[in-house]
Symmetry: C2
Subunit: 347 residues, 2 copies
């Protein structure tokens, strides 16, 4: 009387999650046939195919990820590799949302792989590749000569970078055109009559540092303005540091009359520093800043902003990796986002 339900004969019970075996039992077909029917293999009769797919839909069959992964090596996972130590990167959530928007209609899951400042940025990437934990990887904080990109290219794992590299190697990327941004910012400030400009740069070493610096420099000479060196500051420093150094700078006789800032958080600090020095934004000095959400104009109306859409970046990056996984030419999966024009406050 001890009738235990063994795994063998409860296929039709409907309580357990259905597998191919369940479907095979219900349709009277073999497991192989069912598997093929579900993926529209050509050697399956049209009617059988329909029947299987109907039943599968009815009982809510979903392939077991572990089974597929074990058998095929396909993980259906995209990994977003993030540095967790740069505090004010609120845009991270935008990128994540952008990515999830794109993969929502796919079988892919998004895993977030963190690394901290103390680690080699290559570590998490190496981990992902060695353990085969993802079909595709998205990295940010890209460098001109990026060991992670090189590594993944060698290992043949699809990836996309947020920001370009400069190694003569081709791979998918999405980037914001920071050269144009910095140039437009300079031209705008020059148009307002400013001619002593300071640049708040991206982190030294990242590719877009170079783009920004070049755009700034080229436009400066184009409009005949001069640069007030401000090399001690970059956007991944702390608010306090940026603020203090800005105040120092602004108390000097040869202070700038315009700033170009690569990030909204840094801009808050810059403005605080300007005001610490007893100067007034919009009168003594103007600031053009990138921002990723519409907050800067609430902060100070005098600010001049250029919008960067990180949700878009996330979507483009996801599309790029998926494209590469799907076999597209990596060279065709590169995109560059054009800055909006410089926007003053409009009440």
């Amino acid at each position: 009387m001890d009738r235990r339900v063994t795994k063998k004969d409860d296929d039709a019970s409907g309580k357990e999650r259905p597998t191919l075996k369940t479907l095979a039992f219900m349709t009277g077909l073999g497991v192989t046939t069912v598997s093929r029917a579900l993926k529209d293999a050509p050697e399956i009769g049209a009617e059988t195919r329909r029947r299987v797919q109907l039943v599968a839909k009815q009982i809510g069959y979903r392939p077991n990820r572990a089974g597929v992964r074990l058998r095929t090596g396909k993980t259906n996972v995209i990994s977003l590799v993030l540095n967790t130590e740069h505090e004010l990167m609120s845009f991270v959530s935008d990128i994540i949302y952008g990515v999830t928007e794109v993969i929502a209609d796919t079988p892919y899951h998004l895993i977030v792989t963190p690394y901290s400042r103390s680690q080699d940025p290559l570590d998490p990437v190496r981990y992902l590749v060695e353990t085969g934990s993802a079909d595709g990887v998205i990295i940010s904080r890209t460098q001109p000569n990026d060991p992670r990109a090189r590594y993944m290219l060698e290992r043949g794992i699809p990836f996309a970078t947020h920001g370009r590299t400069d190694m003569g190697l081709v791979h998918p990327y999405h980037d914001f055109d920071n050269y144009t941004f910095a140039g437009e910012a300079v031209r705008y400030l020059a148009g307002m009559g400013h001619n002593r400009l300071a640049l708040v740069t991206p982190p030294v070493g990242l590719t877009y540092y170079g783009h920004t610096v070049n755009g700034f420099a080229d436009a400066l000479s184009e409009v005949g303005a001069s640069e007030v060196p401000f090399n001690t500051v970059s956007i991944d420093q702390s608010i306090e540091q940026i603020r203090m150094r800005t105040a120092q700078l602004m108390r000097r006789k040869d202070r700038p009359d315009g700033f170009v800032s690569s990030a909204a958080a840094a801009t808050l600090a810059i403005v605080a520093g300007i005001e610490d020095a007893g100067l007034k934004l919009g009168r003594d000095v103007d600031v053009v800043s990138k921002q990723s959400s519409e907050l800067l104009h609430l902060f100070r109306r005098e600010l001049l902003v250029v919008n960067e859409n990180f949700r878009l970046a996330g979507s483009e990056l996801a599309r790029a990796v998926l494209g590469w996984i799907g076999g597209a030419d990596p060279g065709s999966l590169q995109s560059l986002s054009t800055p909006s024009e410089v926007l003053p406050y409009r009440g």
Copy 2:
């Protein structure tokens, strides 16, 4: 001469990723023994155990996640379920970082499962449970009577909620003490001589809406101040809406002389609205606001802030789920974070 490398005999080649079979071959033991030795099973001799573990470390053995998952059902995945439609939730990245901090030393991966406003919030949770995609789940935007919590409790899947429920059911949570926050804010404003206060509430329907409203109301009657109703506004409305409604409110004769705001982004809008109405913060009206990063004092020095640490929330939530997965009593995995005191600007 067509010596193909078959899977059978390349175990010692060192090129492929090592498996238990590789270890078994190298140590001369059986696969079972190796498996047990690696997890410190008692029936393995001490010396064998050491030997196996040494070799495993040497060749960098890592268990194949798909194999484990298929065999045991254990995914080693925690899922963070997020609403992607609430734009200004920059704190999301803090929560993510908090979670990753805790799971960094574990075999767990973090997957981000999104849902949009149009969907039933139960959908993503149902998906996770039905497909067995995670060992544990973290949800936010918790409601007093939360169908997701009820569902997961029924299905017996470990989870933690950001925010409490009120269903008489016990489960792990982390929450910020918004009752105390609102109360302290009111007392502080009263101490400054304000007695006509408005509350910018959390989204109606979420548990902490109630906490906040109650803390506000109780403290109001305690200090003998009165409420200026501002029910048309809550913090997940758009900046523009909040700003406009605040301006409307502030142009009325019976305008408030103090605000308590539940989120930094909303506070920016409130201040903009106040200024739109031609009034001055710190003279005509004061605002106490929660914030998750140190930005509000840069925005306006007159603001009064209370800090809420979302990175801590993420860590606590991760600890809670892992604890439950590990068999701890869910009732012991609840934590409440106490607000800092109300902080004025200190130059």
